[in-house]
Symmetry: C2
Subunit: 459 residues, 2 copies
C-alpha cells in the first residue's frame, strides 16, 4: 500500500498496485456485461433520511457540510442533510424508484464504486473502499431463479481473477425465512436479535453465542442449543437438507402444520433449489450453510457470504441476499436480489498474500530515445506512428546520456528502447532485457506478444 | 439526465446515457495509456489544511463529520477535519510528496475520478462531477517540452471522442509570466488581482473589466487599457507573437532591459515554443490567447483553456497549466504541468446537444428464450456456451408467452433472440429487427459484426 495511507482507513495504491485493482475492475465488468448486466453509477451522496432508513451500518455515516456553513450544520435536521453512501444497494433502490418509468424490469445492473463508512479509525478497517455489485430488481415480483444465477455470476467473476491471485471462492447460502420459521417454531420472538447473535458464531464461538441468546433474546438453554444445531446443519443436496431439517424440527417439537414451519419450508425450498441448481452447473461453488445470518436487516430471503480457500481470516468477500421491501413507491414494490464484492479487501489480499503486481509500472511497451533536444521532434514523430498502430509509447524525458535514458525505461519496466536513425541510417529497437538490438520500422514493427501489454503477474 | 437529479447539482445518468459516459472514460484512458501515462486513484478526502492551501475554490469544500459526532464537529479545527477533494491536482501533489521514494520521475499520470464542490445549489452547476486529468510531475526540474505535449495529448483524446458527438477542440494557451511581466512593466503590483479581473473578460466584457481594474487593482485608465490590449493580442506563430508583444511594450513604455520585461520574455519563449510546435504536429490545435488567466492561483507559467467549436456557452471544458510550487517536501520541489477535462459537462453536451446515446440499453447481443421454467436449464446452458466465446447474453426473465419475451429483448435493444431446439430439433436464432430466423449452433454462431457490441451512436 502507498506508504502514505496518511489518513487511517483511506487506502491508496502505488501505481503497480493500482494496475491490479484496475485489472480486477475491468475483469468483473467484463463478466457482468457478458451476463447482460447494465452498468450504472449513482451519486456519492444520499439524504440522511435515506441512509438512516435501513441497515446496521446506519450509524457509520459521514455527513457533509459546506465550509461556509461550519457552525450552523445542525440548524438542518440530519434527515435533510447529505451523507456519503455506505453501500450501493440503498442508492440502487432509490435510483430504481426515481427512474422506474424509464427502466426495463427485471432491471439487471452492475455497479462498481467507492463507498464510505464513518467509523472510528481503527487498525485494518477501511473507511473508504470500492464495492462491486450485481443486483436484479423486479417490478412487483421477482422470479427466484435469480437467487441462484446471481451467486453463480459472482463465482464466475471471481474465477476469472484466479490467474491474478484470487483463491477459489465458495458461496455459502442460507435463507432467512428458513431460520425465522425455525426460531418461531421453537417459540422465540426476537428474530432480529437471534440472527444478530448467530452472525457472531465465527467470531466468538458457539458457547458465547449460546450465552448471548439466553441473555439478550429471551431464549431458554434448550432453545439456544436448538438454534446452534440449526446453524450447524450441513447437507450435500436439497433432498438431504430437507431430510435433516425435518429431523431437527421433530427433535425440537416443531409442528409441521403450523405457520412457522410453513415459513421455514418456503425458505428451504428456495435454498434447496439454489444448491441443487448450482451443483449441476458448477459443482462446489454454492453450498448451504445455515449459520449465515447477515447483519443488514433489509434481507428477507436468501442470504449469501463468500469465502476464499485458505483465507478464512479475510471473512466474507462477497455478500448479499434477497430484499423484498427495500424499495417501494406507493403500493408498488421492487423486490431485489444482489451480491456485493468487497473489492478493496480482495485486492489487498491479492497484493499482499498472493503477491500480485503489474508486469511493469508504465503502460508503455516502448520508450523512444532522444539524441538531443533539437531532435526531439523526430522521436515524437516515431512515437506518433507507433501509437497510431495501438502500441503504447513513452518518449525519453530528456536528451540525457543514453545510459540514463535506458535506466528511466528500465525503472518503469518498459521492455523496448527505440533509437531513431541518425545521418541517414534506419531506426533500431533494443529489447533491454535480452540486450538484443535490431533494425525496426515504426510503420510495421510489433513488440513480442508477451511484452505488448501491461498485465498482472504473481511473485 | 435521470429524472431524479433529485438532489440539485448531483447528476445521475440513465443506463443509455451512462454508456456514453463510460465510453468517454474508456476512450480517454486508452489515449492516456498510449501516451505512457500511468493511472492512479487517490482517496476522495484530504485534510482541511491541504484543501485550504491553494485555489480559489477553497471556499467551496464539503467537510465530513461522523454521524456520531453531530453537534461536536466544531471541536476539531477545520484544518484537521476531512473534506472531499475539489480537484485532482491537489491530491496528486500530496500523493507525489508522500510516495516520492517509490515513483519514477518525471511521473506521468492519468486520473479519472469524481470531485465535489460545496457550492450553494444553483441552476446548472454541478456539485459532484467527474474530472479526467493528465499531469507530469518532475523532481526538482521539469522540461518545458511537456508544456506542449500535454495539451496535444488532450487534443488527441478529445479528437477520439468526435464520433460520439464531441465537437472539434482548440486549446487556448497563455503564460502567466508573460502577463505578470507586462503588468509589472506597466507599474502594476496587484498581479493576482489583475489576473482575476482579466479572467472575467468573456463573462462581463472589456468595459466592465476596465472599470474593475481601476476600482479594485489600483490601475490608471491607461494601464487598464494596456492590460486589455495585451488580452486582445493574437498571433499566427511564435515570431509574430514576439513582434506584436514588443510593439505593445514599446507603445506603453516598457523598458526591454528591466526585470519585468525579462520575466515576460521567459513566458513568451515558452508560449512561442508551444504554438510553433503544436502547429507543426497538429495545425490549429493549440493557439495563443493572451486573455486566458485561469482562476486557480497555483499556476506559475503556462495556462490553458479549451473550447469546442459551436459550444461557446459551455466555456472551457479542458483547463490547466504549469504549477511550480504546489508540491514540495523540505527544500525539494516537484514542479508539474497538467490539464483536466470537465468530463461530466462534456458528456452532458454530447448527450443533450449532439444526441449521443447507447446503440442499445443492454450489453447483451442475444437473449435466449425460455419455453417453460422446467426447461430454463437448457436455455442457461446455451447462454453459457455463447458467453464462453465472448458473446454477451441475457436469458428471458420468465417463461412468458413468446411475444412478451421478445418484447423484453426489444425494449433492451437486444438484437437477437435465441430459440432452444425442442423435441430433437436444432436451435434457431432470430434477428428481431429484420425478422430473419435461421438455424444456429451455440458453439459456432457469431452475431453480425455491427450488432456484436453495444456502442454509442448519434441521433
Amino acid at each position: 500500500m502507498a506508504k502514505g495511507a496518511s489518513i487511517s482507513g483511506f487506502p491508496e495504491w502505488l501505481p503497480s498496485e493500482r494496475v491490479v485493482e484496475q485489472r480486477v475492475i475491468d475483469t468483473l465488468r467484463k463478466v457482468f456485461e457478458l451476463n447482460g448486466f447494465i452498468g450504472i453509477e449513482t451519486r456519492a451522496v444520499e439524504t440522511g433520511a435515506s441512509l438512516l432508513k435501513k441497515g446496521e451500518t446506519s450509524k457509520e455515516i459521514y455527513l457533509l457540510s459546506r465550509l461556509q456553513e461550519v457552525g450552523q450544520e445542525n440548524d438542518t435536521p440530519v434527515e435533510e442533510r447529505l451523507g456519503l453512501h455506505f453501500d450501493l444497494t440503498v442508492p440502487l433502490s432509490r435510483y430504481v424508484v426515481e427512474n422506474s418509468g424509464r427502466l426495463v424490469f427485471p432491471f439487471k445492473r452492475w455497479q462498481i464504486q467507492k463507498v464510505w463508512r464513518g467509523e472510528r479509525p481503527q487498525e485494518g478497517r477501511f473507511r473508504e473502499f470500492v464495492q462491486a455489485d450485481v443486483d436484479v430488481i423486479g417490478e412487483g415480483t421477482l422470479p427466484d431463479h435469480y437467487e441462484v444465477e446471481l451467486p453463480l455470476v459472482m463465482v464466475a467473476a471471481l474465477e476469472e481473477l484466479r490467474p491474478y491471485g484470487c483463491p477459489k471462492a465458495t458461496v455459502h447460502a442460507n435463507n432467512r425465512k428458513l431460520s425465522e420459521g425455525f426460531y418461531r417454531g421453537l417459540g422465540l420472538t426476537d428474530i432480529e436479535g437471534v440472527l444478530r447473535e448467530i452472525d457472531k458464531l465465527d467470531k466468538i464461538g458457539a458457547d458465547e453465542v449460546a450465552k448471548l441468546l439466553v441473555l439478550t433474546c429471551g431464549a431458554t438453554e434448550a432453545q439456544a442449543a436448538a438454534c446452534l444445531e440449526l446453524a450447524d446443519l450441513t447437507a450435500a443436496d436439497g433432498a438431504q437438507l430437507r431430510e435433516k431439517f425435518d429431523a431437527l424440527c421433530a427433535a425440537h417439537g416443531i409442528a409441521t402444520d403450523g405457520e412457522a414451519y410453513a415459513l421455514a419450508i418456503q425458505g428451504l425450498d428456495t435454498l434447496a433449489m439454489i444448491i441443487d441448481k448450482a451443483a449441476a452447473i458448477r459443482p462446489g461453488s454454492v453450498i448451504a450453510d445455515l449459520k449465515i445470518a447477515r447483519g443488514l436487516d433489509y434481507y428477507t430471503g436468501s442470504v449469501y457470504e463468500t469465502f476464499l480457500d485458505g483465507a478464512a481470516s479475510l471473512g466474507s468477500i462477497c455478500s448479499g441476499g434477497r430484499y423484498d421491501n427495500l424499495a417501494s413507491s406507493g403500493s408498488r414494490k421492487y423486490p431485489g436480489v444482489g451480491l456485493s464484492i468487497g473489492l478493496s479487501r480482495l485486492v489487498s489480499h491479492m497484493l499482499h498474500v498472493a503477491g500480485a503486481h503489474a508486469s511493469r509500472v508504465s503502460p508503455a511497451a516502448v520508450m523512444v530515445a532522444v539524441w538531443n533536444e533539437d531532435e526531439r521532434d523526430a522521436s515524437d514523430a516515431i512515437a506518433a506512428k507507433l501509437r497510431a498502430r495501438g502500441i503504447a509509447v513513452d518518449v525519453a524525458p530528456t536528451a540525457a546520456k543514453l545510459g540514463k535514458q535506458i535506466k528511466y525505461a528500465d525503472k518503469l519496466g518498459i521492455p523496448y528502447v527505440w533509437f531513431p536513425g541518425q545521418d541517414g541510417a534506419g531506426d533500431e529497437v533494443k529489447d533491454i532485457v535480452s540486450g538484443e538490438q535490431s533494425p525496426a520500422d515504426a510503420t510495421s514493427w510489433e513488440p513480442d506478444s508477451m511484452s505488448a501489454r501491461q498485465t498482472v503477474v504473481l511473485d
